[in-house]
Symmetry: C2
Subunit: 897 residues, 2 copies
Amino acid sequence: MSDMKVYFFGEGHADGKADMRNLLGGKGANLAEMTSLGIPVPPGFTITTAECNVYQEARQLSSELMKDVQAAVARVEGIMGKKFGSTSDPLLFSVRSGARVSMPGMMDTVLNLGLNDETVLGLVEISGNERFSYDCYRRLVQMFGDVVMGVAGEVFEHAIDDIKAARGVKLDTELTVADLQELIATFKGLVKTHTGTDFPSDPWDQLWGGVRAVFESWNVERAIEYRRINHIPVDWGTAVNVQTMVFGNMGENSATGVAFTRDPSTGEREFYGEFLINAQGEDVVAGTRTPQQLNNHGRGNLPDGNEAKDLPTLEEAMPKAYSTLLEIRAKLEEHYHNMQDIEFTIQDGRLWMLQTRNGKRTGVSAIRIAAEMFSEGLVGKEDALLLVEPDHLDQMLHDQIDPDAPLDVLSSGLPASPGAAQGLVVFSAEDAVEVAATGKKVLLVRRETSPEDIAGMNVAEGILTSRGGMTSHAAVVARGMGKPCVAGCGEMFVDNEKKVMTIGGQTFHAGDMLTINGTTGQVIKGAPALVPPHMDDPNLVTVMAWADEMRRLRVRTNADTPHDAEQAREFGAQGIGLCRTEHMFFGEDRIMKMREMILAENVEARRAALLKIKPMQQEDFEGIFTAMDGLPVTIRLLDPPLHEFLPTAPDDIKDLAKEMGVSVESIEQKIESLHEMNPMLGHRGCRLGLTYPEIYEMQVEAIIGAACAVKKNGVDVQPEIMIPLTGAKRELSDLRQMTLRVAAEVIAQCGTEVDFLVGTMIEIPRAALLADQMAEDADFFSFGTNDLTQMTFGYSRDDAGVFLPDYVKWGILPSDPFQRLDTEGVGQLVAMACEKGRRTNPDIHLGICGEHGGDPSSVTFCHQTGLDYVSCSPFRVPIARLAAGQVVAQERLAAEK
Amino acid sequence: MSDMKVYFFGEGHADGKADMRNLLGGKGANLAEMTSLGIPVPPGFTITTAECNVYQEARQLSSELMKDVQAAVARVEGIMGKKFGSTSDPLLFSVRSGARVSMPGMMDTVLNLGLNDETVLGLVEISGNERFSYDCYRRLVQMFGDVVMGVAGEVFEHAIDDIKAARGVKLDTELTVADLQELIATFKGLVKTHTGTDFPSDPWDQLWGGVRAVFESWNVERAIEYRRINHIPVDWGTAVNVQTMVFGNMGENSATGVAFTRDPSTGEREFYGEFLINAQGEDVVAGTRTPQQLNNHGRGNLPDGNEAKDLPTLEEAMPKAYSTLLEIRAKLEEHYHNMQDIEFTIQDGRLWMLQTRNGKRTGVSAIRIAAEMFSEGLVGKEDALLLVEPDHLDQMLHDQIDPDAPLDVLSSGLPASPGAAQGLVVFSAEDAVEVAATGKKVLLVRRETSPEDIAGMNVAEGILTSRGGMTSHAAVVARGMGKPCVAGCGEMFVDNEKKVMTIGGQTFHAGDMLTINGTTGQVIKGAPALVPPHMDDPNLVTVMAWADEMRRLRVRTNADTPHDAEQAREFGAQGIGLCRTEHMFFGEDRIMKMREMILAENVEARRAALLKIKPMQQEDFEGIFTAMDGLPVTIRLLDPPLHEFLPTAPDDIKDLAKEMGVSVESIEQKIESLHEMNPMLGHRGCRLGLTYPEIYEMQVEAIIGAACAVKKNGVDVQPEIMIPLTGAKRELSDLRQMTLRVAAEVIAQCGTEVDFLVGTMIEIPRAALLADQMAEDADFFSFGTNDLTQMTFGYSRDDAGVFLPDYVKWGILPSDPFQRLDTEGVGQLVAMACEKGRRTNPDIHLGICGEHGGDPSSVTFCHQTGLDYVSCSPFRVPIARLAAGQVVAQERLAAEK
């Protein structure tokens, strides 16, 4: 079984099934599954992803594979009663890629394989449509020349433009059969000129070329870029689907379309889709013709001015095919327990299904679908929870336009991906990357987007296009990225070359400010006020309640101010896992006192300066404790090296000297003396706390002093004091003793008993290795996975940018370890430290407070490793809650099996 | 047993024994052992080191301890028939420190405890010597006032000077009884004035004060400094030895002395020692009076002009006591199986032993003693090997003065520690530290040295003193440090205050260049040529043969040039464990080409520049391979970040711009673009190799090209190519593939088959954690413990200087982990990587190539962890060989037990 290279499907029988997507790719697995379900699927076969890896090694198709393909073709011939290469009734194939996860638009497709000067005559005879037949042949040469042989697409486009000009016609459809025949000859000549090779007339050469092209396309730049953004390993590979051609472009009784079983934008339980009469499948997604709606519901929702508003729906135009499609829709949802994104073709009135897959959707939609599919009884609670992807929540948290803000609405397009976005207009992906790199927000404006634009879309705040529908590239990708998008804004004219656009009678240039509302489709001049999002969607409340009910892992937040603490609490944070005290020192009134402390010549002067800082620190802590009433608050003592607090610009140094009443030279000397070759590995964290005990003493006084003060006001205060950067047992035990001593003094002074914990960050590899010793003096460990990642890999986060993106691109690392916890290496240390720590101190609390605390896959790891909590930035809290619930849901489902 | 606080010894019976040195200190354990052996030892008792730790916590003596001490005193009173505090026949005590390892001069001593205005009368009566008795009393008040009560020693010295001036006398001995009585009263007044407290007349208060003072002295600055240099943990503590006073200063029939059972300088089997008639023990070691020799052998070796040349030996002056001493010498060597350093006192003709311990010795001496004690049948081969300390070899490797060099000999002193040293004259330890810090070599010149000078001695090339003997502080410490020393150069006058010296009729100032020959005692003007040492001492050859015969661990060297390689081979290196290719790029002719490569705008220009470097690299490798004919050579591919090769000074940048024909700005931009926040964790090692594959490709071509070339010349070449800084499996597997491919091409081109290995440094924590994966693509692992230590601890070696010395001083770390491998943390990673690596690849070679490869305790760890080899700098190779043999010797001895 596992050695099979080719999986057949057709006529109700299939070698594969839906759960074989790793081997057959998503498309192949689902074609097999649909075939087995009795749904009409053009017969064909899938070459496995394993063969893709074989190909990448050998760079050629193996003879074993070719033998298996020949056998599969013979089987399809048997079913269809046609022959591949026959001059009387030729069987034609499409070749499409199909990776394990959907990579929209990434991989290449070739249609109509099997046509040549002889077989096209057979197609003419069978179809009775000479124009259609030669147009198919023309498309084959064009696509094959482009995708397989590497001739630039515009070479063919220019040839078409030329012949249209010569004939004095405007539309492709106005070209005659003779024109098409001439065009085919021209195309062949162009192929020969540009490649030195003839277009292959042998159908088998065409088939092998198509298969090879799919495998090759796995490693083109745009596929690599997509994998990098989406953390897809290179060795997953792609499958190749070879399938009997059916034609949506055989005439007015043919059509092709795409649909979602529910509205992918709102989640509403309405069959939603678009189609084009007399067209091939690529025409819909390309966004070059505005498609018609499937049904009245969809058409009713179109904005005024959309040309499809006046065109018939599929329900009206082909009621029989539509009703078959409705039946299939119900069957698919019941079978897959998920909203489906389908592709279909109607050939001469007969419906064929070409694809089904789980549909991409907006956050609002995902949550509504999950809530409703559960209440419809279609899925259980665990499955329903898993229908929401953590990234969907990101969209729920996006900005919206302030309802009270006055708006200068220029026009409207399709509300392709929700949320409001504003930024400086850029007209190309390159410009987007360049301008965004300067720290400015950008809005990417294009006629339409294509896979080459991925990097630019990734850095843009939002995307605005003048063409294309809700299933266009821009819309699909933007929804996947959780970015606001307005698509198909027909009243807008964009000249991407000249970098200028007109909309609502006004002209805008690159660098002008625009706002889009992806929820309504509005395009707005300038930058109206935005309001932060709310978590009050009732479906979201339902879904989050499931997550909270299922999860074992607690979710805290990283917050340094009462404001952040309050926000995070609204997002469901169950405490603060990391409060960085140093950020408090950067306020304008404080930094001077901090500098006074650093410039102090002796411990007395240092103490005097600290005494001025202390009341401010205590006030900060009182605010945070009050905001977190009843919840734990972990406060990390001073961590960064002292030189971070000193000025570097000559003018600032002069100012400081004046303010302090010392010489510029003395300050420069101090800065020089504090300079470090590798500050990341320098004099910071507990090392500072041991060298200058008065700093940490002041901080402990402020923390416990604040705790006593708010407790007197009735606040339930739960301080946890965290010693950073420990790597030796004595560092921790000495500072723990100091903390207990100082705290006892403050408590005695205040006369208020306060319970508190003392623990440490585990962020130095040695601390993890010796966690059994560290646990003797720690009530808790909080894994600082940012620094732990830096030291375990030997990467400086500030410097790794020159090679780390390449590492991910080249597959040396599966993903950026600063975004996604490296479970193999860093995770090994975390797991080791948990085990050793618990062995010494079974009651120890274990948490994580690096950036990874908000990354879903890292949350899953934390759950599996037995941590007690994760801590992340406020906006990631809901995502962490969801991820923590989902891992339990998955465990429960696995246990049921 | 383990709860006993006080261990008694006396009259042939002792609670303790020699192997209890951890609890009783070296001195206490040996006093107990000597007592049990029937050797005459003044009775007394030892307070344990455990009590020292108890004291450090409480800062006072416990009542339990005081009770046990009182009982022990009563027991001594019983034996001696005297009473502590008796006014008729008072028992007097000395109190001395005694740590686990000998810390010469570090700890304080108080003599004559028990004397006061009343008891002194009893001493007068019993001794019949009024002057002696009051001198004892005077000494007590002076030492107690200084050591216990903290009055500066010079306060008392000034009082003595004053009374001598008033009396018109020059020598202490010229003072009368009445003068001494007046002095005692004056001293008491000074104590009261300086401390506000009376000198305690109660003998028990004196005793408790003395015990407390010993414990307190464990934490004085100089003791802390000594521990830091010698890696002695703070919690070892010191014991306190309280012992019945015997007097070497009771008259002309009394004496005190120190001796070595063999010559500590040459190792010759001659009883070697010095003594002073009518003196207390401290007088000998203080170096203030030039002592007489024990016997004719010693006197014969004195240099002309030494005043003891004309004084009688102990053999002549007190033949009976000398003959008893000879018997004890034999008994001790037979018992301890080691050369002993003893202290004795002769009171009124009767010999008492005050101390025995293993004697410090020079390298030459240690090796001769080991060889001879084995051939005498006194010890087995394993024990004999363990008589040599690894550091002793360091001395064998020191420079000697070129025998053909013309010498301007200024004078001669005692050859106190062998080897030649030359440097700029400095007159204080502070100056030594200051000047040495600028990178200059210094020679420390003092009248005599004291423990305060330790830090200065540590940085000096050698030490020259005008006073003191072979057992003076300077001599003992210099031998321990393996530094050349000429002591007691009586013709030299040193004014340490004015920083000027006269010798041989000439005057020298700070900063003048002098040379000393510690092997001959000569002091030489200027800097005559030095020759490197030889390993041809026949005893050394014997001892090293034992080590080589016993050890399992192979020893390689770190060498980057044919010259270093040849030197290391002479020292017994069994190959090169680390050849750093980057050092080759810094030559004047090469650095420009390297910079050309770095400044290249594209890969073609980079390749062109590399093509110029390649022949030079290949030539280097040919030289190294030839020098290492028949032995493996591990070559590490380029490791440091590229910015290290670019200039930083504006003038250098200008020059480079001119040379390259580019603008200064373009070079500054390149430098800026290569700047890193944390270069230690930056774009270097294999990360560079992957970004710029052409660099590593060139290096592999040069290595394999060189191997082919020398093989054609008949050289047995064994190249091992090492990929640095790997942390992910794919880094290694990609670069291994590159190496194999390029090597195959070069081999095909040359037509010579060459075997080689490909392996990696393990220096990133993640590589150790994933060593099972790394081993799939590695023929060998070489642990780069320098970087591994940096990353495991999160310490930057360049920056840790601001806190690491404090960490060691405060006991937070037992020693500097860059000097001595941290077996707990870093060692855990090494052990883990060995185990995982071998699990995947049982044939994998395992070695270490950090600085630790030459540190004896780290070598021991490497043996125990099962590594195959260590690699260290050429001069450390013999030390590593010895250490590797010694660990096996220890295992064998342990197995015998």
